[in-house]
Amino acid sequence: MTSGIELQRCPACAKVWAFPRRRCPACGGEPERFEASGRATLFAATVVTRAPDETFRALVPYRIALADLEEGPRIMAHLSAEAEIGAPLRGRVEEIAGRPIPLFKPA
């Protein structure tokens, strides 16, 4: 099963990151894309009840998390259920509010 969570890495210096960039932020090298395993640990989570717009108002309350991917980068994602900080997670990109969003579940 693929996660659909796309990362970038720099073949020159081995740095790995999540936000799409044209150049490696460490050495300026040309990055290549690869897919994350979807395995992560929970860094922090919040339950949002005050949504920014009508689309998300229909989904409240929803959980937003910072997930530390096993490849290194920390990404923001949705979280399906309550989990303790440090808990193992599994995640993949799902359609939420009509757009692709990484969704993690307690592993």
Binding site: W17, P20, R50, L66
Partner: protein
């Protein structure tokens, strides 16, 4: 070595100001600063302004200069989120010390409450988040800070009630301050029972959205009467987006405050008045601890013990801060400076703090603890 002095620092009332605009609020604040300094328009030769989400413009500084009636020799705008107020003062200080200007007007204002809908304000501010990896997830500024708060509580063992103490203190101070947006007293229980926004933050952990303006005149001369001298300034920028923030979320505050204090030849223990950015209760806790004022996890308990009260040993944001005096964008954090100037120069009237501290520190933060600016000031009497 030349130096700069705060000749005046003023704010308009904050809150719902019907009929106000960015330019009217900037102008009201600037006129009040000129009046407080006993200066005329023609003496202003430098102009630094902020930005306004209700009045986006390529050249806000000269739009304001023309409207207000000044022809500065040096002018531009600064954009650094909540850190803008302190950053404007830092660049004004550099302009004065370099000899480029002698009297710099630093001004900002925004009708952020009446000039746009609440949803529009929430969405505009949420764009501080990453356009691909954060904002499209339905995250908001409170959600970003809530993630930081969840982590802070986990790491330090502090409680939501500890955070609430900081909101209660800011409200108590605002209750004594004319022009505050929110002045009605609240308790820790009120904060804990207030509407959930993004756990662990409730409505009363969050600053309101306000209309308001603020202005500071920085000068090469101290002027008549008690004055405030800028003796150290520094910045640090560790990240823009929360996803790429260091594990130590307030690391930038540690770096900028340490550098500003070093440049001033002072330590945090020398500071007798604190002006610290407080967009959320947790922002204030993180910054007080990063500045070395409170031990990790203890900022709320220090507030509860009266340490930061107006009559306490280390008064903090005695106007009520962003949390209760209000938050109108760039000018929101200028109110911290206005209060510091009033308190440090004996102009706070009935709100005066007990002692006459020799030094004050002003710390601003923009983004999600992304951009930090620290100023250290010394009383001259």
């Amino acid at each position: 070595m030349s130096a700069s002095f705060v000749r005046a620092a003023t704010v308009t009332p904050f809150g719902r100001i019907e009929g106000s605009s960015t330019l009217s609020l900037m102008g009201d604040a600037a006129q009040a600063a000129l009046d407080a300094a006993g200066m005329e328009r023609g003496e202003i030769d430098g102009l630094i302004c902020g930005y306004a989400t209700t009045h986006p413009h390529l050249m806000l500084s000269t739009v304001f200069a023309e409207d207000f009636g000044i022809r500065p020799a040096y002018a531009h705008a600064v954009q650094l989120g909540g850190g803008t107020g302190a950053a404007m003062l830092m660049v004004a200080d550099m302009a004065i010390r370099s000899g480029e200007a002698r009297n710099v007007l630093v001004v900002a204002g925004e009708n952020r409450l009446t000039g746009m809908s609440r949803d529009a304000a929430v969405q505009t501010l949420a764009q501080v988040g990453h356009p691909v990896g954060e904002a499209p997830l339905g995250a908001t500024i409170p959600a970003y800070y809530a993630l930081g708060a969840a982590r802070y509580l986990h790491e330090t063992g502090a409680t939501e009630a500890d955070l609430a103490e900081l909101a209660v203190l800011m409200r108590r101070h605002a209750g004594e301050t004319p022009g505050a947006h929110l002045g009605e007293a609240i308790s820790v229980a009120d904060v804990l029972a207030s509407k959930p926004i993004a756990t662990p933050l409730k409505l009363m952990d969050c600053c309101p959205i306000s209309d308001g303006g603020g202005a500071v005149i920085l000068s090469a001369e101290p002027g008549p009467g008690p004055a405030l001298k800028l003796i150290g300034a520094a910045q640090a920028h560790t990240h823009q987006h929360l996803s790429e923030a260091p594990d130590d979320l307030a690391l930038g505050a540690r770096i900028s405050s340490a550098r500003a204090l070093e440049r001033a030849g002072r330590s945090i223990a020398d500071m007798g008045y604190l002006a610290v950015y407080d967009s959320f209760s947790v922002t204030l806790a993180l910054l007080l601890e990063a500045l070395g004022v409170s031990a990790p996890g203890r900022a709320g308990q220090d507030a509860a013990a009266g340490r930061f009260a107006r009559g306490g040993p280390l008064p903090l944001n005695t106007h009520g801060g962003l949390l209760s005096y209000g938050h109108c964008g760039v000018a929101g954090a200028m109110a911290h400076m206005a209060e510091a100037w009033a308190q440090m120069t004996g102009r706070a009237g009935a709100r005066a703090i007990a002692g006459e501290p020799a030094h004050a520190i002003y710390h601003g933060d923009g983004g999600v603890l992304s951009s930090h600016v620290t100023l250290v000031m010394e009383r001259l009497s």
